[in-house]
Amino acid sequence: MWQWFHRWGSPKWFYDLSGRWLPWLTGALILFLVVGVVWALLFVPQDYQQSYTTRILVVHVAVASTSLAFFPIMAVAGTITLVWKMKMADMVAKTVAPLGAWFSALTLASGSIWGSVMWGTWWEWSDSRLTSMLFQFFLLISVISLRSALNDSETAAKACAVLSIVGCVNVVIIKYSVEWWNTLHQPASALSMNSGSANGPAFWVPTLVMVIAMYLLMAVHVMMATRNEILRRESRSQWVQDLVLAAK
């Protein structure tokens, strides 16, 4: 088990493995994204209260639930950086942060559009779900800024790791904000297998397709960006120079 764990710490091993996986993941991403978006925006049934506005839900929920994964991923990577000083973990932490900021921004934007139609307001400062999500966006921006503000890459890695672990607390707050306090935002839906009841498969199956598409998007992005990061940081190593020479 430890051998397997330490193999992930090798940039070359990651580079070779991701090179083999990327075409498959990209293919799966395109498939799920096309099916998900077309299904979400054209075929999801209307809601008895909200009519076709619920189609925003499919996109919003997919983006929002994925955005909650970023801090836990960065915290795990950060813990590995702090405890085992594995460079690969820090590279993943670095590449995943900007995407997390994008996902948080898209969550806020899609939610705002939905809210403007249904609630009658774009934004409510008093709603803890909304403000905690905005806080996550700012936290991710601060992780990115912190890294670029510190010149020494090892110090930057440690500082970002600590901030990422701290940021996980906010994920819990976002998740349970709608249960702990009263909010304008509705709580999470209880899914139903029965097509004759509320939240039936007609709503959650396309949402699930979109969620899978978003995680595939994350995986593809992280792999591609981490490969770039590997080439940048390992540019002096023999295998990268061989690779560049072979490509010429």
Partner: protein, 158 residues
């Protein structure tokens, strides 16, 4: 795992746990401020800051909506099925506003106990279903708390 790594991991876990407890206690202390609105029962019991803008959340009571004939003025009652708060509002209501619907109203409670609203927002619940499913459930008399019956028009205000 080597001892120095185990020690570092223990320190991280300890800090994370301590931080969680600290933030948890802070949030617990702030719990009323983190709520978006007061319930009609809290308003009835006087548990709100007087003379300040407050928000209350509840349902639009069935049969309580009175529209003025010649203006955007509207009177209705917000309820949590335990206490009622009369509301007076002048302005555009959100599309989802209807009897039995969850709403959040912002405004000041006047001396007569009427909330003079400056804003009315609509809440919707987390149960999504097509009109056909809703009709079938209604026909089967499936009653669940929190569901709004779609009202067939509103009283004419006379």
């Amino acid at each position: 795992m080597k001892p120095h790594r185990r020690k570092r991991l223990a320190i991280i876990l300890f800090i994370a746990a301590g931080l969680s407890v600290g933030i948890g206690l802070t949030l617990y202390a702030l719990r009323q401020n983190l709520n978006m609105f007061f319930t009609p029962s809290q308003v009835a019991a006087g548990e709100f800051p007087p003379g300040r803008e407050i928000r209350i959340g509840g349902m639009v009571k069935e049969g309580s909506v009175l529209h003025a004939d010649d203006s955007l003025e509207v009177r209705f009652v917000a309820t949590d099925y335990a206490s009622d708060v009369p509301i007076h509002y002048q302005g555009i209501l959100p599309d989802l506003f209807r009897e039995g619907q969850g709403i959040v109203v912002e405004g000041q409670v006047d001396r007569a106990g009427v909330l003079q609203a400056s804003r009315v927002l609509a809440k919707h619940d987390e149960n999504y279903m097509s009109p056909e499913v809703k009709a079938a459930l209604d026909a089967a008399h499936v009653e669940r708390p929190g569901y709004g019956q779609v009202s067939e028009g509103v009283p004419d205000g006379t």
